[in-house]
Symmetry: C2
Subunit: 292 residues, 2 copies
């Protein structure tokens, strides 16, 4: 998905949020960073995908503020928030007749924890909503079918705390072989290999770094191992808008699971703003034939 013009004011807003986050009291630095990012806008190619711009913004902020992982503390706090919900969600799962759909809903609900789009997310409210919502999840029937015939699944993670809820879905994928891919380094609150190991995903899946340093998946910079898994797995599940934005145009079928958090993604995906979605890149299935 290419950047849209509406993304530009959003990049500037994100810059201000991240700058305030990295150096809360340094108003001079906030202005300097805004100026620097604004100056960079005219050089952005029109076909760049938003997570690539986010990477540039974060790199500039890292260098300016001199903090390598400004989100470390916030990630810990969010993880505590998420882990505090695990017990009740285990109980909720026990009551569900359709465990697969319930696990998909729960994994997508966790995607609300997104510091790039909105710092004021309401995880507890989102999880409360699971009990009464029966919104259309999009292509869940296709996903169920794909899971049934899959032997190997590549699951590309998104935010750190969200992965606590990804485990519920990964457990439903077993005994299939599951690989869980993370970012190559801290960016925003996205998950890395150490985060995934801390959460214990390795009990259910083989944890690998995708090699991608952007808050999404930059295929060009992924590792040969990831690339091989991406090409050869019968099923690829990718979480979050960042993965959707960076992978929606690739030549293989992917199931994207995400909360629709911005009007641009809503318009391009044709899915309602605020909704939980399973989005199957079916158009690419045809291309897949040529690609194989």
């Amino acid at each position: 998905m290419k950047m849209q013009l509406d993304c530009i004011p959003c990049f500037i807003r994100q810059t201000l949020e991240v700058a305030r986050f990295a150096a809360p009291d340094d108003i001079v630095a906030h202005r300097q960073l805004l100026d620097q990012i604004c100056s960079l806008i005219p050089d952005l190619p029109s076909d760049i995908s938003p997570p690539f711009v986010a990477e540039r913004i974060h790199e500039i902020i890292r260098q300016r503020i001199g903090v390598d992982d400004p989100y470390r503390e916030m990630k810990k706090q969010n993880l505590n928030l998420a882990q505090a919900q695990v017990c009740r969600m285990e109980q909720w799962m026990e009551r569900q007749e359709d465990r697969f759909e319930a696990a998909v809903r729960l994994a997508i609900a966790g995607n609300i924890i997104d510091l790039g789009v909105n710092l004021d997310f309401d995880l507890e409210g989102e999880l409360d909503g699971l009990c009464c919502h029966d919104d259309d999840l999009g292509d869940i029937a296709l996903l169920r079918e794909a899971v049934e015939t899959a032997d190997q699944v590549l699951y590309i993670g998104d935010n750190t705390a969200e992965a606590v809820f990804d485990i519920f879905l990964i457990r439903e994928l077993l005994p299939r072989k599951v690989y869980f891919a993370t970012r190559s380094r801290p960016i925003l609150n996205d998950i890395t290999v150490p985060d995934a190991l801390k959460i214990g995903i390795d009990k259910y899946a083989t944890v690998i770094s995708s090699g991608s340093p952007i808050p999404g998946t930059d295929l060009e910079r992924t590792t040969p191992h990831f690339r091989q898994l991406f090409d050869d797995s019968t099923l690829v599940i990718a979480k979050g808008q960042g993965n959707f934005e960076s992978l929606s145009d690739v030549k293989r079928p992917v199931f994207f699971l995400f909360k629709v958090k911005c009007p641009v993604v809503s318009e391009l995906s044709g899915r309602r703003l605020g909704s939980s979605q399973v989005y199957y890149s079916e158009m690419k299935t045809a291309e897949r034939v040529n690609y194989e």
Copy 2:
């Protein structure tokens, strides 16, 4: 009121909205305009007031697109919308015990018609709300008192269609002498002298141009006549956020009447986002003593 850093992403968003409005199909021009405005951000002095930036943005768009008044048609449409409500609002006014407060509420409700902040305003919904709302209007008691002792009122208008509802309040100010001031030239959907005459404000007030070309009041560029009225009138009423942003720091008491439409104005005024407000710049009253 000085620009805040949160205004910067909003300037960029406004640029895109105005560019799309001025040249709906010219996506290349939209991007060029965004780039140009982004390049201008680092040069903005930190003490500039937002309406001054809006003026620069609009001037650049005017030059690029070659349209002097891109809002002419939209102003006409909004005016039709507003005038279609006059009859029912006359009837509503007849039923009100406190005609003065009702007129103040109505004049502020009209301020919802603001293309700078939100193109999707709901005028009819706002007017419907007048019937059941009794929200705190802020400094209305002080305004009532000021009106009682005033002999000459300077009323600084804001948007064009909004002025249809300003007439209701101006009628309550009679038989005091009322001057109604407009912008010096078309900017956004703001009112000009020809607009005011078309609406018939001259039946109740002397219509003058303030001389200010910004979507607010730039005192430095106002006419000597406006300046004299601004200094000598016993009461100054200024409509809308643009006037609040540009006049809230001047050294004379002013009653600002506006809908609080953005978080920055909400924070600086201490008034709730979305609320209708009479805001008296009382701090300046003390300064007024020195000034006189």
